[in-house]
Symmetry: C2
Subunit: 207 residues, 2 copies
């Protein structure tokens, strides 16, 4: 018997921490990864594709799924729902995938309390300082001054959740950060659920 | 501020699982590792060196250190004491080392309950089957038939502790196992104690 089930890897961190680049690094270098796509009720923006960026659904549909217990985690942010459906995650775990999540601290806290906790690895990604985060947000030039202020205020809240994560990645040197995230992703594969370990122990003794 | 404190990495697994080879792999490829040496009251065997294989001490000395609370973990096995002193581990953590432990399941359970738990990573190493373990013990030719029987009986007990470990490494392909243990060791470096995270958060907000 070889273990064949998948595991979960959560990446959180402020917008501007370099999280998206590190997710891209994992997708490029690690086989058999399923990138979890969130469901939302917010309007589709220009260039966004349903099923790639988000699953876009109606408010009625989302609330029906909440009631049916079909979300692993969900939140209402400024009137829009965001969430992760359990079904595709379960399916990917059964298929032996590394299920990769780019979610905020609240979403992570929910997954940490879910039945997936034993096979979950979590990483908090941050800049070395807040002024470095500000510098990067200004440099990428995609946000207004007001949005940058909001992002910095939000980052100050998010960073207080750091102690709940397994690993802390301070993203100052990109090459080093890429090596670190790949090490974490490879290790994450070796987490095992208790039921699978139980099966293995029986098999091991009998063979 | 950059994190500068060390972390702990425990490797457990039956004699014959290939644990020693994987410890050697870590020592060869990872910088700044401190391999924890146990203290024992058992007699020194031929070829063993005090301070390399064990710290050999008297029963009186060992019991004095137990009473003084100087052991991170200790056990009495068939009349001989074995244990890990806290002091060198603390010193190595302060110096930013990855502190590597080759200890049994009981010793691990004690460390897991210690104040080091938050910066501890643990791996259980095993053969794919019990008969494969027996085959390896016979092949290495260093044990009597009776000792092999004892080792197999002990392995059957040890393996039931698997669910308590962070990672499970089934050592069937050496090259793959080496890649896996190096990924785990690199990731282990990114665990952080709550006090160090607290300091970082304050620093981050102020800079």
């Amino acid at each position: 018997m070889i273990f064949h089930k998948g595991t979960l890897l959560v990446l959180s961190g402020p917008s501007g921490s370099g999280k998206s680049t590190l997710i891209h690094t994992i997708l490029q270098h690690i086989d058999n990864v399923y990138f979890s796509i969130s469901t939302t009720t917010r309007a589709k923006r220009e260039g966004e594709v349903d099923g790639r960026d988000y699953y876009f659904v109606s408010r009625e549909q989302f609330e029906k799924e909440i009631a049916a217990g079909e979300f692993l985690e969900w939140a209402n942010v400024h009137g829009n729902y965001y969430g992760t459906s359990i079904k595709p995650v379960k399916k990917a775990v059964e298929a032996g995938k590394l299920v990769l999540f780019d979610i905020d601290v609240q979403g992570f806290m929910s997954i940490k309390k879910s039945p997936f906790a034993k096979i979950l690895t979590s990483v908090f990604i941050t800049t070395p300082t807040m002024s470095e985060l500000e510098r990067r947000l200004i440099a990428r030039g995609s946000d207004t001054e007001e949005t940058i202020k909001k992002r910095l205020a939000n980052a100050q809240k998010e960073i207080t959740y750091m102690p709940h994560y397994d690993y802390i990645l301070i993203n100052s040197d990109l090459q080093q950060s890429q090596e670190q995230i790949l090490a974490i992703a490879k290790a994450a594969r070796l987490k095992r659920a208790e039921d699978e370990i139980g099966e293995f122990i029986n098999y091991w003794k009998e063979h």
